[in-house]
């Protein structure tokens, strides 16, 4: 009987050499006449261990990592196909502390299964949510999502059920489901992991959304920088069509849902839902004003659900196990789990899915193991390039939308980027302005002109010019951006800028007391 060996196909693992390791294993096995079955699974999300090779044994899957092609021959020598001892042997994968402590609902299958195997998907609880949904009324599907407490995981945290309900109640001959897969925040990768590691869960979530609101067409708007995800999604979609999970008459239900993947053209702002729709319509990625809400007049002017990958990928488990099951995770008004992405200067970067409520400190140290450099952590940016910087004094903030908001910080898409004490926060503030300048769509005045002026003002500040004039000017500019911008790009750029200024005034060359707003 052949031995099953898992080498991740995930692009982070690949960037660490997983593809070359897979080839080396296959060649070595052939050379030695060992019958192996090589599966390219998704990543378990413990990136410091990638390439993480797993071997299926009677006791469970045994992990080896990080494995380089040069290690392969030695692993065979150590009889790793039977779980043999080796310096890289990490023990049973699912007993690894980092993994074991997680609450994996949305990521339940990721790393375990072959992403493009529908059989694997179904064998591991896949399409149970859809099966339930097909037996429910539309209102009941929406109610389950509402009851789950799921909020938009793209960052805005808008209650998903309410959005769906609006689309359900807006009459139209054509409605759309859009998956926002333009994951562009710095330090984020959870969407990519889902699309590369478990594409069917997204397809299932979108199909359920389609059934729930009567939308017969779905689009996955995928950033062009995710070529692996593009291939894997398309392969999975093709299989789903073939097996009657997409197209007309889904699983004999008479319901229709079509799905295709569209690639973006490299603009960060197209992750904003209205410019995403403009782009999807073939136009320049310009932000639209709201109202009308996309739920009422979205893609091509039709009622449209726009949800993030994680939001949609969380739907199958909700429909499988019920809204209450999902709701039991989390705290306060933040229900369910959040896939947190640890990145930057951190010892153990990776994906941690947990119910809301853990503190930042627990994440950084218990999971992340402190900084990779070994130096003290000075600040973390949570929620992508538009998220605030948190100083150590705020590390005890629990991961909870409201707790973060109370600190004038944001959880966003759950990306955490860690900086040690060598960082200069004025440079980071300048970087935030520059990011806004580069990515601004150019429609609204505050963002279009303000971001350029912001960089110039920061240059003056960094060079110590006229601080008594330029610091107030920076604050005023941030005010204009915050209150005047059309979308969150300009509207939230003040978060990192002002948090850096307020928490680290010394990096701006000024005395803390003099600047406190």
């Amino acid at each position: 009987m052949s031995i099953t060996i898992y080498v991740p196909c995930d692009s982070s693992a690949a960037s660490m050499g997983a593809d070359r390791v897979a080839i080396a294993i296959a060649e070595e096995a052939a050379k030695r006449g060992i019958d192996i079955k090589l599966i390219r699974n998704g990543s378990r999300g413990m990136y410091w261990l990638e390439p993480l090779v797993e071997v299926a044994t009677d006791k469970g899957r045994v992990a080896y990592g990080p494995v380089q092609p040069g290690d392969v021959s030695g692993l065979f020598d150590a009889n790793f196909t039977q779980g043999g001892a080796h310096a890289l042997n990490l023990g049973l994968t699912e007993e690894l502390d980092y993994f074991k402590k997680q609450q994996r609902l949305t990521f339940a299958r990721i790393g375990k299964t072959d992403p493009i195997s529908l059989t694997d998907y179904v064998a591991n609880d896949g399409y149970r949510g859809l099966k339930n949904a097909l037996a429910m009324t539309q209102a009941d599907i929406v109610k389950a999502v509402t009851d789950s407490g799921l909020r938009g995981r793209g960052g805005a945290a808008f209650p998903t059920g309410i959005k769906w309900n609006t689309v359900l109640n807006t009459a139209s001959l054509q409605k759309y489901i859009i998956c926002n897969a333009d994951e562009g925040d710095s330090g984020t990768f959870s969407d990519r992991m889902v699309m590369e590691g478990d594409p069917f869960v997204l397809i299932e979530g979108m199909t359920i959304a389609g059934l729930a609101v009567d939308a017969s067409q779905g689009y996955i708007y995928l950033r062009i920088e995710y070529p692996h995800a593009f291939e894997i999604l398309n392969a999975a979609i093709a299989t789903a069509y073939k097996e009657g999970y997409l197209g007309e008459n889904i699983q004999g239900s008479g319901k229709t849902f079509n799905l295709e993947v569209r690639q973006g053209a490299g603009a960060y702002v197209c992750g904003e839902e209205t410019s995403l729709m403009e782009s999807l319509e073939g136009k320049r990625g310009l932000v639209r004003f709201k109202p009308p809400l996309p739920a009422i007049s979205g893609l091509f002017g039709q009622p449209t659900i726009v949800n993030n990958v994680i939001s949609l990928a969380s739907v199958p488990v909700i429909l499988d196990k019920g809204g209450d099951y999902y709701r039991d995770f989390g705290m306060g008004r933040s229900r369910g789990t959040l896939p947190i992405q640890l990145a930057g200067n951190i010892k153990r970067p990776g994906l941690v899915e947990l119910g809301f409520g853990l503190t930042l400190r627990e994440l950084l140290y218990d999971f992340g193991g402190g900084s990779a450099s070994g130096r003290p952590i000075k600040a973390v940016q949570v929620g992508g390039p538009l998220g605030a910087y948190l100083p150590e004094a705020q590390f005890d903030t629990p991961l909870d939308y409201e707790a973060f908001a109370a600190n004038w910080t944001v959880l966003g898409h759950g990306g955490i980027v860690v900086f040690d004490d060598t960082v200069n926060m004025a440079e980071m503030a300048r970087y935030s302005m520059e990011f806004c300048k580069i990515e601004s769509c150019g429609k609204c005045t505050p963002c279009r002109i303000g971001s350029t002026r912001g960089v110039e003002v920061m240059d003056d500040i960094i060079n110590g010019r006229n601080l008594d004039k330029n610091i107030p000017l920076l604050r005023d500019l941030c005010d204009t951006l915050l209150n005047g911008s059309l979308c969150a790009l300009g509207g939230m750029t003040p978060y990192p800028v002002l948090s850096a200024l307020n928490h680290f005034p010394e990096d701006f060359g000024i005395n803390a007391k003099a600047t406190a707003a």
Binding site: K437, G442, C444, P446, R453, D479, T480
Partner: protein
Amino acid sequence: MSINKEKDFGTPARASDNMVTLEIDGFQVTAPVGTSVMRAAASIGIEIPKLCATDSIEPFGSCRLCVVQIEGGRGMPASCTTPVSEGLKVVTQNKKLADVRRGIMELYISDHPLDCLTCSANGDCELQDMAGAVGLREVRYNPVETHLNAVKDQSNPYFSFDPSKCIVCSRCVRACEETQGTFALTIDGRGFDSKVSPGQNEAFMDSECVSCGACVQACPTATLMEKTVIDNGQPEHAIVTTCAYCGVGCSFRAEMKGEQVIRMVPAKDGKANHGHSCVKGRFAFGYATHKDRITKPMIRASINDAWKEVSWEEAIAYAASELKRIQAKYGKDSIGGLTSSRCTNEETYLVQKLIRAGFGNNNVDTCARVCHSPTGYGLKQTFGESSGTQDFDSIMKADVIVVMGVNPTDGHPVFGSMMKKRLRQGAKLIVIDPREIDLVKTPHVKADYHLKLRPGTNVALVNALAHVIVTENLVDEAFVNARCDVAAFNKWRTFIADARHAPEATESITGVPAAEIRAAARLYATADNSAFHYGLGVTEHSQGSTTVIGIANLAMATGNLGREGVGVNPLRGQNNVQGSCDMGSFPHELPGYRHVSDPATHALFSEAWQTELSTNPGLRIPNMFEAALDGSFMGLYCEGEDIAQSDPDIKHVHAALRAMECVIVQDIFLNETAKFAHVFLPGASFLEKTGTFTNAERRISPVRQVMRPLAGYADWEVTQLLSNALGYPMNYSHPSEIMDEIARLTPSFNGVSYEKIDELGSIQWPCNEEAPEGTPVMHTDHFLRDNGKGLFMLTEYVPTIEKVTPMFPLILTTGRILSQYNVGAQTRRTDNVAWHSEDRLEIHSHDAEDRGIVTGDWVGIKSRAGETVLRASVTDRVQPGVVYTTFHFPESGANVITTDNSDWATNCPEYKVTAVQITKVHQPSEWQKSYRDFTEQQLELLESGQQHA
């Protein structure tokens, strides 16, 4: 007088029966659902600062100056994009809002030249106004990156584009898209690099820009600015008047400095144009003060003599004496006159009155003879009134639009834009035209069917459409039974159901595949609202009237009449074609289309004009030429028409003019006809006189004098002088008195007066007791025929005698271009020549290949009537076997080749079908050489006369 700027409500008006009441700054305001908070505020005089919003285009929400706070709402929404709702409580001014607005303005000004005092927009700049409104006192930035060195684009002759002053509000881009529908502009780049880009970063003149002026109109700064304003400064007063170009009849504000027109700005409340314009009306007004204007009366005994400048008294006395002499010698009927579709209703009325009452005959005709006379005939017969059935706005309710033999985006550009807007909203389009006009495929518009028929086969095609409707049971029986003469309908039904009209049978005649005709007929017949629009491609044929009748039959059979969104709509070529016809310009009809022999009409006018009028119809234009050559028609009074260029078989026309003993031309230029004249009476341009024009939708609009007549008299005064000299007294002191007389004598004009026109802006006739404010849509519950019923008429297809033969294997058809206007007398004397400086012959690549012709070659065009030479333009817009040209330049000699075939009912020339041969040549035709010599001679005779004086 003042410049009296039009109020800008910021966002377009919304129509809704649902009204909501909200509170803005403590004031209650009620507005229709869908209205923006900004507009609601403006309606009660609360002006919220704004830059990217203007009420001619949809809100965009980009400048963010218009932010407000809403009680219970989060953040600061833009008032231009926030719709009103019941009970909303809005605050438009407070410290926080002021800070944001000032912050935004500080950013704007950090990238704007501080040259207000020397800026062309000084005094008319919204950025300047807003900087004042928000109280910006200081710009604290030290900008490194700016656009201050961006290079000006001066390529357009009428406006300049200075990107250093651009605030990237996108108003120009949106106006180009929404108002004009050309999509020539876009924003290139993103973020701070965003900039307005014509085409793909080209100069305006190299882009698809059609110079309609919508962008200039929309620009809030000096970025897009009329060169006339740059040269002269801001205008100081404005007078609303009506454009004198095409039959759309746009309303314009003539913005003036004293008597100098600084710019023509389309009026927002103009009911035909709603604030839009085209390159002609908006910019091409410079001809009015062109050096070629003749401002002194002139006379001469023979056309080989030098002109002699004389006083008005002498010129009028000479003209009158000549006319009297000719009548004495050749009889009462030996003289006549022509009115013009270029002149006002009042002038036209006066000319025909002079002829009928002063000359004592009915020898009056007008240029509609050569354009829309078949419309007059066909629609009068079937519907009972010689006019289109709809107003322009009706198109916005049409679900299917048929465009046959008309090229709206070139010929009627402002209406073309409205049509495109409706098409972008989803209306279906059927184009029936031998050539691929722009509408067939233009940004975001594509014809569902383009029935590319052979020129001259209109009747066969219209019959085939009707055949499908009848035989596939698509007739609106209820409409026909209730509204039409059923006996006539039944006769027609039997006629049209015959197999000879089936699309399969007509395919070999028209060249249009049967399946396409069937599909188009079904589309037309089954839509909720189908509107039919046509032009000279329908009328200027030997069966022009038959096609008009055929179209009327189609509309009646499908019930597409009597409400908004439907109808039969002739697009009139000239500003006052409708009006000149209404005013009794035809030899057989008195004003209001009443026959000269009708006893009641005869009695009415004889009484009113205090003379016994002739009951014999007079001569039509072609008959006048025949009679001139016969020696029985020797004197002509021609006001504002250029028959020596515009009429077919031009050599014949010239011969007739030469045969006459006294040709009196009243015009603003020494036009082609004037070269054959003995008396020249200098006319006034539309800017120099008062009156009214009636556009294609029967809209009577005011023409207001903005400068004094260069020659001293408005045209109506000249006619009056001539009449008095002839012994028929006229004593009008103002054109309004002429209109009062028209109203008194014409039932459909009974309710029209200058007071009412001033009050309503414009009036669509019929305007009388039944319809005191005019009639946008006609035939709403009965047709205007005597029995109230629509009349179906039989339309047998009779092929034209103008046939292709081995000697003349191609068919020449003609059309217009956007930048030039008809005979070109005006537009050729403006910078519009930058777009079109010569007429060219379009020829299909196959036909060109056969003849070894490439684009730019000189080609000879020879017909049975004559020969001329043009440069070739090889294109696939025309089909093989068909060639096409425009006719805006006299030296092109398009009418040297056209024949004297004409419509059976009205003598409208068959301009659109001439069999020709095309060959490559190396020199102008004989006619062109003689034309050149003659023109040179006439200009010398003019010059020597002027020097002499």
